[in-house]
């Protein structure tokens, strides 16, 4: 059983988007992991990759696609919207023949309408992600001697993309984010100590990316159990 990473891709809107993969291509369970959005993605990538390596040991293949405009993508980030990311994730699930979908945090907002079993960790409203990014921008503006508000930044976006958490985001993305809420889903899991929760800390909230081998192992075990209990 190889646990070496492989670099696959899926095609979307004229670009080949990267997708990190672990596990045998012949595996019957192939989980598409839709990552958190924006800076939260970077903070949990190490935990997710640890989870993917562990799942390869359980004979589960995992796929971690780039969202268009992020990571290695050549697509323009300011042209992306919640809708384009939803279509991109549906294309990735289809082209890479996923059998299950897992989302972390804001990934839940862009993994909708995929007809596969869905498991979500700590889904979050888009409005909350947006507000934190706007507040972070306000804080850095203040340090630079510029006074901005939530309202003024949203108004600026009407005249062209605004920089939030290092991402150049257009007005349609901001509006889509503000309106996006995770729909009801039977397999939603939160962090905590109860038997139906996942042990671990919300590393997506931390200032710096971190590793957490225990959390990776717990997440892998939970996904192994869940994916064996449903789907093909």
């Amino acid at each position: 059983m190889s646990t070496a990473p492989r670099h696959l891709s899926y095609h979307f809107k004229g670009y080949d988007e990267a997708c990190l993969a672990f596990g045998d291509a012949s595996a019957t369970r192939r989980i598409l992991i839709v990552p958190p959005l924006f800076d939260e993605m970077n903070r949990v990538r190490a935990v997710l990759v640890g989870t993917m390596r562990a799942l390869a040991e359980f004979s589960v293949m995992t796929l971690l696609p780039d969202l268009p405009g992020c990571n290695e993508s050549l697509a323009t980030i300011s042209a992306q919207t919640i809708d384009s990311w939803q279509r991109a994730m549906a294309a990735a699930a289809d082209q890479l023949t996923a059998t299950h979908v897992v989302t972390i945090r804001g990934g839940a907002l862009v993994a909708t309408g995929i007809a596969l079993p869905l498991w979500r960790l700590a889904p979050v409203k888009g409005a909350s992600l947006l507000k934190t990014m706007l507040r972070t921008r306000m804080a850095s503006d203040k340090e630079a001697g510029r006074a901005t508000t939530l309202e003024s930044l949203m108004a600026d976006a009407q005249n062209g993309p605004v920089d939030l958490s290092g991402y150049h985001l257009g007005a349609t993305m901001l509006a889509g984010l503000e309106a996006a809420s995770p729909a009801n889903n039977a397999f939603d899991v939160t962090l905590g100590e109860s038997p139906d929760q996942l042990p671990g800390k919300p590393l997506w909230l931390r200032a710096e990316p971190q590793e957490d081998a225990d959390m990776s192992a717990a997440l892998a075990a939970a996904l192994d159990r869940w994916s064996a209990s449903c789907g093909r």
Partner: protein, 86 residues
């Protein structure tokens, strides 16, 4: 609800700043936060406000946020309690 607000704020501080359970359990009203805890900078404050809104089901007007609010643990809890009771 008062004690619940207190414990939710402790949990948020632990979750966001990576502080140990012991460190947050030892905080009292006079414990200094902003300027005393290196992990708590103006960027962390942005996320902290949103987490407080989501977990306490309150709305925070950014105009209400000033240096005093994050000066001490007591100030932060009093602010949150006033919002929850509001």
């Amino acid at each position: 609800m008062s004690n619940k607000v207190d414990s939710i704020i402790r949990l948020i501080l632990s979750d966001m700043l990576g502080l140990s359970p012991l460190q947050v359990s030892q905080m009292d009203e006079t414990t200094e936060l902003f300027g005393a805890i290196p992990e708590l900078d103006s960027m962390a404050v942005a996320g902290l406000l949103t987490e407080m809104e989501d977990r306490l089901d309150i709305m925070i007007d950014d105009d209400d946020v000033d240096g005093e609010l994050f000066a001490t643990f007591g100030n932060l809890v009093a602010f949150a309690k006033a919002k929850v009771d509001g």
